[in-house]
């Protein structure tokens, strides 16, 4: 679980709506400043890498939702402007078969493309400094995933007041739910701040689960990069990065 596909219906409207707006804005800017011909030429590559990401997302390596998402390696191969569009396409398709939410396509695109874009940047940067493929690929992946997870936590954090609202809405609401709630409540009596949002616990859980994901994804990405380096070193464009 190196990242989270936000589901529908949890986040407040203003949050996911602004996610869409920002994603569209970025997409529009990229679109304006990329040469049309260059983009047309790269469309099949974009399509194939997006397809690889969709497929990667659907092969579960450890049952229970750990899958690779190939986002960092795609970022390294596609470069930032294309990885953003590719991430958008991937999220639309994943959302279409229930993997992530429809309303959160914008937000998911933003948080996930951070992985791709920063993966690319870190990879280039560390390559200039270290010149050794294995640590560079691992650190770049690890940091990029870290960044993306924190941004996702940040996004979820922005909705805290919304969750409070959702939770409090029930008090004095339908009797049926209230009863169930009561029963549930007693054993957890010592739980401080019942009915309150406990965002810290969320962060702790997400980070501890993600940490394993970062390591695993870091290892897999490093091994993939090494494989690519042996078979098609041209794809990684390390010489350009070095100069």
């Amino acid at each position: 679980m190196s990242h989270i596909h936000l589901p529908d219906g949890v986040l407040p409207v203003w949050l996911w709506a602004s996610g869409f707006i920002i994603a569209i804005l970025i997409g529009f800017i990229l679109f304006r400043f990329t040469k049309k011909e260059a983009l047309t030429k790269k469309l099949p590559l974009l399509g194939m890498m997006a397809a690889a990401m969709v497929l990667g997302a659907s092969v579960e390596i450890v049952p229970i939702a750990y899958h690779v998402n190939l986002m960092v390696i795609s970022g390294i191969l596609l470069e930032p402007s294309l990885i953003f569009l590719a991430t958008f396409v991937v999220n639309v398709i994943l959302a279409l078969f229930g993997h992530g939410g429809i309303t959160v396509i914008g937000l998911n695109t933003l948080t996930l493309s951070i992985e791709g874009i920063f993966g690319y940047l870190f990879f280039r940067l560390f390559w200039k400094i270290l010149k050794r493929l294995t640590p560079v690929a691992f650190i770049a992946t690890f940091l990029a995933l870290c960044l993306s997870t924190f941004s996702m936590i940040g996004v979820v954090g922005l909705g805290v007041s919304h969750y409070e609202e959702l939770i409090h809405k029930n008090e004095g609401h339908g009797i049926f739910e209230f009863k169930l709630l009561k029963e549930k409540h007693d054993p957890h009596g010592e739980d401080k701040g019942k009915g309150e949002v406990n965002f810290r616990r969320f962060i702790a859980i997400v980070l501890s689960l993600s940490f394993l994901g970062w390591i695993l994804e870091g290892i897999i990405t490093t091994l993939i990069v090494r494989y690519l380096h042996r078979l098609r070193p041209d794809l990684l464009r390390l010489e350009i990065g070095a100069s």
Binding site: L45, M49, G56, V59, K184, E196, Y227
Partner: protein
Amino acid sequence: MIQLSYLDYLSIEGRSFLHRLGPGWKIIGMLMVLSGIVLLRNLFGLFSLYGILLAFFFICRLPLRIFFLTLYPLIFTVLFIFISGFQLHFILLVFLKALSGSTGVVLLLATTPYPLIFRTLGRFLPSLLVTALFLTYRSIFILLKVLEETQHALYLRGGFQWKHPWRSLHNISNAFGHLIIKGIDASEKMYESMMLRGFKNKIHYRGE
């Protein structure tokens, strides 16, 4: 992953009334489901919404294995439980919302061939993006074959065994590397073919 091609297959071969309904109506229906998810705050409303979707699901005789697909988002929704104090009301609320969303889209995709969905999206999205969606979808099926064959090879040659975790990880990574290289090769061939056939900037499709 066979799921995606299976969904696609159902959308073409299915004969239920939802299959026959125009894609526009179904997308409007999907938008209604989404606004329900966004607006509804009481469990009764959400239960009803989910119930209606489930009813559609079984009236259209969609197979059970497709139903399991709709449960996927729960894995992530579980995390949100930790935000609240494990209150059943909140849990049910977010679960039902997430489930309604995923059931809605799966219902849409299982009863509507994807070109029709993309075509409808094409009225709102820039053509370049729609072309990218079409190419990605086509690419998924091209790469799916590569992926399946690679999985078979790993299996037949003992590439994935729990007793050798490090080696297995190594083998899996190589397999993904192979998938990426094949994908890039295929994208080059695709580009050549597009140029030979006069591609300018969009894929034309019926009813655009």
